[in-house]
Symmetry: C2
Subunit: 348 residues, 2 copies
DNA sequence: CTGAAAGCGCTTACAG
DNA sequence: CTGAAAGCGCTTACAG
């Protein structure tokens, strides 16, 4: 690292060829003579030449980089049992792994940026990111529909919350089918006649969909649906725990089954129920959504709806790449299948 | 996204000014007239202009991007209890969070890349990454000293394993002091007379250091040290579990205290000991190293040595930034303090 | 305060 | 097969 790093001109000079030849052997284009090749490669090795990606990106109009923006987990209740749940690998992280795997296959790199829950200048940060990549993959709860569409007019954007705007594409799991199967299992197979929906973040599209299906299925079957602000959770264990705590504290009886917006909420619910000596699934059945790794390790085993999490990420990348390369996304709203996973917490 | 995205020329034309003026108002340099400012900003908004980071990087010779390379967790024994431990947030992830926080403060973005345990062309991947950023932060177990030094001649490199070469800098926790305090606690405060060291990856610098301290302290105190290939773990729970399984299977008595190379190994050891009905700390004391979040949730609570994990990441970034900007790293080898955390697993 | 112009380090038609 | 040259989209002295 003494002085300025070598450029393609230095390599060309050292090899006694033109910069065009250097570029060709390094990129494997054209058919350079063996001798040319050797001299270039030798010079490259000697000088420790690393081609400048910015210069290439400027020239070919492609950075081969995608930006991923996800929401940092909000701080949980201080001192609570789940105070450190933000330090567990969750849904978003598995998606990111899927993105990375797919990106690597295409020679793309990942620019990762997390934004705090209520980040005022998330917009600015996003623009700064956008400058450095070819397109953005935006997780749930980062931007609302309006912000997303605006961003989509400036740069290719794929959203992971199921929000599809005129200028953006999206990838999501099939919440409708998954939740429908789950509800019918609880109602028909187990015969539960009273259900509560432990909500995720209120305006998250997935939450809206899942609640709607729960409501519709309960209504169609004449099943009682517990509702109200006290059922409002957060998608996190901490929120699920608080909902149960509140319900129990109010002294009102719990419904026969509690359908949670996602696995983390179910984890919090399960934990709190256990602490209060409520038997699951004997007294109350509990279900999740996502099938994240911890779901498999809970006791009782969590009945949930599996989403193809890593595949969601991989698909988001592929969609974005087609957007970047062709301008138009092939399908605009990709929906990946989900599947009911019956374990013990539902009563099975 | 219709046609080519607007450039600074389009903005200048729309605003009726020169591209130099556009650049100045966007970067807050010079003192543009209010009128100029307004017209530029209006044109930017109208066109949805996002300046090209590659062009800027080429011009200012700074990408404001750092690359982070970490090692993907190797697959654990199929079907084992810890088969999915790679899906838990661990040491490396917390470090990465620290890097991101510090990078964000300086306006840098993070290019993240994971390499598989035995990745033949990790080198090539690394070079590809290097093209796109100003410097690289390389986690433990990714490159050996030779590869690291070679890389360091091509691009600024900070290593997180404590390997300092002529061309690279490093950041690490103080394993010596931490392990010394821990050993003395076990020997002096608890009076244990026989100790085993459950090893991490054999040639990892931290492992080498920790083992050396354990050996030295045991020797100095006349404490018996169990050793041999059967004590070879992997830094992961799976490895720790296998070591204990092997020891127990061989029917030989366990030492009074098992000092594990890190928390994850201790986690595996704890789990396996419990499965075999061995009382910890009654029959055998167990300790870890790192103080990762799960350590606090184990039963019994894990006695360990706390590393300032997130700070290791933040410091690595700061060191790299100074390397990038000044060419010379200020301190070449930064050692952050560690601290003994006594919980129950040591017998306290 | 503002603009014309050079320069950053590559890639890629275009000639030869 | 190879080289001279233009061009990618910015920033920044340098004049005015």
């Amino acid at each position: 690292m003494n002085g300025a790093p070598p450029t393609i001109y230095d390599v060309a000079a050292a090899a006694g060829v033109s910069i065009a030849s250097v570029s060709r052997v390094l990129n494997g284009t054209g058919s350079p003579r063996a001798d040319t090749r050797d001299r270039v490669l030798r010079a490259v090795a000697e000088l420790g030449f690393v081609p400048d990606g910015a210069a290439r990106a400027l020239s070919v109009k492609l950075k081969e980089t995608v930006g991923v923006v996800y929401r940092r987990v909000p701080k949980a209740t201080p001192g609570g049992v789940f105070a450190e749940e933000d330090e567990n690998l969750q849904f978003a992280d598995i998606i990111n792994r899927g993105i990375e795997v797919a990106a690597q296959r295409s020679g793309f790199s990942l620019l990762i940026s997390s934004v705090a829950a209520a980040d005022a200048d998330a917009g600015r940060r996003m623009l700064a990111l956008a400058r450095k990549c070819d397109g953005l993959i935006v997780h749930d709860l980062v931007l609302d529909e309006g912000q997303l569409d605006r961003l989509g007019r400036q740069i290719p954007v794929v959203n992971l919350a199921g929000i599809t705007t005129p200028h953006t594409a999206s990838v999501r799991g099939d919440s409708e089918a998954g939740m429908r199967d789950l509800m019918r299992h609880l109602i028909r197979d187990h015969g539960y006649a009273a259900v509560g929906y432990l909500s995720g973040v209120a305006d998250s599209p997935d939450n809206v969909t899942r609640r709607a299906v729960v409501t519709a299925e309960a209504g169609a079957a004449g099943v009682e649906l517990a509702a109200g602000p006290q059922w409002q959770g957060s998608y996190y264990a901490d929120g699920g725990a608080q909902v149960i705590e509140g319900l129990l504290g109010a002294g009102r009886p719990l419904p026969r089954a509690i359908v949670c917006a996602n696995d983390l909420a179910a984890l919090g619910a399960l934990h709190t129920l256990a602490r209060h000596g409520v038997d699951v699934p004997g007294e109350v059945a509990v279900t999740g959504f996502d099938d994240i790794p911890v779901a498999r390790r809970l006791h009782p085993g969590l009945t949930t709806v599996r989403q193809p999490i890593q595949e969601l990420g991989a698909t988001a990348f592929e969609l974005l790449e087609s957007l970047v390369r062709n301008g138009q996304p092939e399908p605009r709203d990709v929906v990946l299948p989900t599947r009911l996973i019956r374990r013990e917490s539902c009563g099975c």
